[in-house]
Symmetry: D2
Subunit: 204 residues, 4 copies
């Protein structure tokens, strides 16, 4: 139905997360109508992104190398962050969400995914070897916070990590989990029993 | 449009919580088609409800008087419940939700609503005098759990109650709140900052 | 969890259309708190509904017998309605929806349901015998409008009725269907192909 | 929070239709992880789109010039399309939706928008001069189909166009509108009165 070069770009946009063919076609019509200068700016920004953004060698967070550090992101290279705390998150946007709270002053480690089964192939999808290496080389870590999502996959990953850490962490280190309970705006009447139980147990 | 006796009942059903005129008319057509015996059973059940259900004199939970107690509900008259714990909830269904977790063994007190402003008229909407009286007459209470919903009204009510209890509770009594955090199935990426802050602070 | 007479009424309300156990329990708490007089009025209204509302002997619409007619509803007993038009609808609320347009001046016939398969048991669920009888006894009917819903079941019923009417209607009578097309507020971009085809074919 | 080159691209993606900052950031992380070759292909496709796609000189549909025509799209240059029919649509995707039905064999004209008020500035947002020119130069047009959306803006545009065409069209030409009615899957009970009235009037 569409000319080939429109269809081609619809197909590529359809691979973007959350995008279906209808939205993809709206993106293409948007690009078709965009002033020449803005298309240039868009293309340049993608090239710039790919050229300038690197992955932090400690936490795997994407960052732009600066005078402060060529290898570590802004968080990992910040001397005022608390090096005794390590927070394990599934993905980049989870790190951003936690940073926005301004309540956490420790370091992060991006797992790069979740595991749904304890098969070898599945476990290799997350950065378990890199995590093992961090534990060995950074004995100053006193607490590891398992901040995976409270979804089925996140829980399975958390369980696996807890077992792994108990074996590999030096004596005296703590493993903690994010508190469970009712979110802001939530209602007791619509909460599941597990959430309510956690809210009761975690009362203070 | 509808015959008067249909319209009359549509109007009455429209006052039920969550029911609009369209749903109300479906209820009326349902009642019109119901076998005679089932209509009788329905009417009898409403009469029975009004006749047999009383309000617990301690917690205001609706209950059916029994041989065990004429004045107290099953929870309040249960000798194995922990009388040192009192959980304040907004309404009946919140009590039911907490009971379903089977994690709470103390007593309840149903406030009967929330307050949105600190005006006298507003405060009188909840059972504050009865609460004051419970505190005086039941010195065995050691901890009061503020289990209002984490909504705007619930929070305002909780704040008001906290100030009220600090003034009125004997020295050494504890005031606690349900734990805040991510609910089961929630995701860090979509959580608000306050919820995430609570989850971080409440880690364990 | 609930006292028996509360649970009993929750169970009965849960059988109402669109009502689940949670809404049913809200209905019961609503009835528990309702002033005595209003509960009386509610019960009286249900009794009145069952006593005063009859089913129209022609169209099966519920109505309240009046001086004008003991057996026919307001529409069927209205001498100014066009007796040459008969509109077949699935249920009472569809009749009401069409009446609200004030564009239709003919008579109705409520089928009492839809058929999903051409099995005998299925066909007996709608008033096919009564429809046959109407056609025989009312030769003044010139046009029959098939106003079933454009859903899968409605379409199947419409197809069955069309075949049935072609066999049973006297020569020269018309069978029509409600026009298809985009509804008010609809958009071409989100319309299915069948709807758009109908809109194109039905242009005027 | 994000490095500048990530933030820059989030800002640009946030201008895409239907995209907010959260989705935009997911797009950027997607692009960061995409294999180098696929990023290249994506950029090349955008350049190719801008270079190869032109706007049809008759209907304003985007198309790729071919041996058949340098100036007209596949539809306008197709000798078997019916030149006596002209269908006015708001935007490119509406044309695609109508083409998918395979029921329309005439030509199109993309208005490029809708008008919400009859101000000069508003009217200039749609291709009214180009439409006037088409009418003058193509006397073979016998019917103009107003296929704007049945939304408030679409209706206002349709009304304006109808008045404009009545003044400017040669005698004997027809102005039609897409049929209104219930869409596939719709239900009488939930349809608005205008839609039902149209469905009744358009019965056949």
């Amino acid at each position: 139905m569409y000319p080939p070069s429109i269809q081609k770009l619809i197909d590529l946009f359809s691979k973007f997360p959350t995008v279906g063919p209808r939205t993809a076609s709206r993106f293409v019509f948007y690009l078709l109508k965009l002033p020449k200068e803005e298309v240039k700016e868009f293309l340049k920004s993608i090239l710039e992104l790919r050229k300038s953004v690197k992955t932090c060698e400690f936490c795997f967070n994407p960052f732009q190398p600066s005078q402060i550090s060529e290898k570590l992101c802004q968080i990992c290279s910040n001397p005022s962050r608390d090096k005794t705390l390590l927070c394990l998150v599934e993905k980049e946007s989870d790190l951003i969400s936690l940073e926005k709270t301004k309540k956490y002053k420790g370091l992060y480690f991006i797992l790069g995914g979740t595991i749904s089964a304890l098969k070898k192939a599945d476990i290799e999808k997350i950065r378990i070897k890199e995590l093992e290496e961090r534990i060995k080389n950074y004995p100053e870590i006193q607490e590891i916070i398992l901040a995976t999502n409270p979804t089925t996959e996140g829980e399975a990953t958390s369980l696996y990590l807890e077992r792994f850490l108990k074996k590999n962490l030096p004596v005296g280190r703590q493993i903690t989990h994010l508190g469970r309970g009712l979110p802001v705006g939530g209602e007791l009447e619509y909460a599941d029993e597990e959430t309510l139980s956690s809210a009761l147990e975690g009362r203070k």
